[in-house]
Symmetry: C2
Subunit: 402 residues, 2 copies
């Protein structure tokens, strides 16, 4: 029997306890021994809950307990999660976490500490919820140079965009509804402004290049500016608007960005709707691959955390190599990357002028939207686009992917 | 530096050499050392080819070479692959194979030998080509009870069905074209009669239940009976016909079958077209997940083989646990499983009689097909369906999945 402790008994933490209980026998068979939750750290008491007897309020009870070999961190945020996880690793306890903020900010350091102590720091659940992506990148796609990873990595924004598309409704209304349903946080900033997806693509890019990609250096746009009108144009163009987190290799580096894009039905991520996540990977020998599943939610995320716990138990005093050093990777400025752009202008903007500046552009007029029109450009760099539009009053711009 | 030998320098074997060469540096970084192809076993000479100097014709040169730590088997078939692989493992050499026939027939035994010798027998490329599915099942989805695996596991038949759908053409014509393009073998039986997909779903089911699932006991139908008329009905119903390899848990066992099915656009595998493969997995806590990519082809398959080689080098004298014993798993007879059925009858078949026997069935008349009509039943067991149709002259039947 192996004893574990769970830090934080919120949605994911209680999900971990539930999964360990529901699939007790098969998990024990795969881990080679029974898994026992000995302590649960939480500020609350959970009176009357079966977990009540295991609740502790002091992290040192866990850190100082020699019987605890594995710590599950599901608190979220970096304070005090970073301090707790680091202390656990330094005490020789392996850690499984679902915390993308922690991994994006301190992954390289925590991996290094685990390596030195011949234990493990695993974080499958930090990206894509229940979708296996971290372990495949780390141990299945090792024959490839990964040239692109593009993901729909945030379930909340994908739900909002899917719903806006389905109902023709406005962002604020759908956000409010998503909050009521529990699909969006009361403070939705991390999701709707793209920060959550940004942290996740930072983690994936770090794993692909084996170096530290700083979240702060990623170009990030959220979905707050997307309106029902934008969706209407996308539909007219037989396209969908998705929040993409993209990492593309150029020479020895990558350009990494999070932004809404208009994609065609041929794109492998086109049919990833609602709260689902999808991750597209292109390798130089593998070609295209795609991973799809529940990117969030209590049990799918807990499933990934528990799979890490099983892997940790199978490698109890043997470090699983993860290639992610603290050496910083300088990213490529997105201003030199090329793509097509969709943008909207007021009706009095000269069409001749637009077509003169944007050679080969396509103009889109929509029924019922007589005071404006849309433009899709040919491929050009971000810099060129910005220069060319500097004299026009652009209502909104969305990048186009084919 | 680690020395490996490749058995069989056909499409996949030469692909392995090419991948090792193309991504030499990144593979060495991930494996922790350089990978050198020392011997290649083949009957041919490859005069003038850079591989010429490495060609050997006698397996014993490889088996008796103490410098060879890893053997890659890409010969296909079970004779002599089984004997060669077993001998290599018994000599303490780890093996990576792309050979589904070998794995389906002898997987349990070879895994056991590897375990006893503290080495590894890995076979990621045997199912789904470049798509990571064996390793995710073995080490990522370990917190779940896998309740269903359904895959489009054969690229040739998927290409044929996609092409028949696109062009409205007949099976034989598309098969001939596929053979000319090299997408189908000269002897296409293993693909078009569903045997290849059957071996692959046998492997996946063995991994899910940890016991031996015999390929011979799987109910298998191929696509040879699918006609342009069937496709026409499917289109009229907004459905697609795909060759599904399915394994579903019922109680303590599984029913496993390979057969063409009509699926709706809502099914996650609906948009898996051409030579691509897709594998849908449902876990009791994970929910739905899907893996998509190149299911065949030289480089994608070689990518999976080389990823196994890297994993073997990272675990050179440490067995990676694979739960697949030789204890035989008895499968559930499909005759008691329920689903809906689509079938076609001649125009003189009494519609009243059909609707009397198949309560709630839907009748489909197609323009241009006036000498027959189609029927979609409500859900019933295979046994019931067979009993109910025993008095009718059925032209063709295809199962329906929603």
């Amino acid at each position: 029997m192996i004893n574990i402790a769970i830090l934080g008994y919120g949605t994911i933490g209680s999900g971990v306890a539930e999964v360990l209980n529901t699939n007790k026998d098969s998990i024990a068979a795969r881990a080679g021994q029974e898994v026992n939750v000995k302590h649960v750290l939480d500020l609350r008491e959970f009176l009357g809950d079966p977990i009540q007897d295991k609740i502790v309020h002091d992290i040192n009870v866990i850190l100082d307990d020699p019987e605890i070999d594995v710590v599950v961190e599901t608190m979220g945020g970096t304070t005090p999660a970073y301090e707790y996880v680091k202390s656990a690793l330094l005490k020789g306890k392996s850690v499984a976490t679902s915390n993308k903020n922690l991994v994006a900010a301190h992954g390289a350091e925590l991996i290094e500490i685990a390596k030195k102590n011949n234990i493990n720091f695993l974080f499958e659940a930090s990206v894509g919820g229940g979708i296996p992506i971290i372990r495949p990148l780390n141990s299945s796609l090792t024959a490839d140079e990964i040239e692109e990873i593009t993901g729909i990595l945030n379930g909340t924004t994908n739900y909002i965009l899917s719903k806006m598309t389905k109902d023709g409704s406005e962002f604020e209304d759908v956000l409010k509804e998503a909050q009521e349903k529990g699909y969006a946080e009361r403070d939705p900033k991390a999701d709707v402004e793209g920060l959550d997806a940004g942290r996740k693509i930072a983690i994936l890019t770090s794993l692909v290049c084996g170096q530290q990609v700083d979240f702060e250096e990623i170009y990030i746009e959220g979905i707050t500016k997307i309106t029902a009108k934008d969706i209407k144009y996308a539909k007219a163009l037989s396209r969908a608007i998705k929040l993409f987190a993209t990492s593309k290799k150029h020479g020895d580096s990558f350009y990494v960005m999070v932004a809404p894009v208009m994609i065609s039905p041929e794109h492998p991520l086109y049919s990833v709707n609602d709260v689902f996540n999808g991750i597209f990977v292109h390798g130089n020998v593998l070609g295209d691959a795609m991973f799809y599943g529940s990117g969030a939610g209590k049990l799918p995320t807990a499933s990934a955390v528990v799979a890490d716990v099983v892997d940790i138990i199978k490698h109890l005093h043997k470090n699983i190599f993860i290639d992610w050093s603290s050496t910083k990777k300088e990213l490529i400025d997105i201003s030199n990357t090329s793509k097509r752009f969709f943008f909207r202008v007021h009706k009095d903007t000269s069409r001749d002028e637009i077509l003169k500046v944007f050679e080969g552009a396509q103009i889109i007029d929509l029924e019922g939207l007589s005071d404006e029109y849309g433009v899709i450009t040919q491929s050009m760099t971000e810099k060129e686009y910005n220069e060319k539009t500097s004299n026009f009053d652009v209502i909104n711009m969305i990048r186009v992917e084919d």
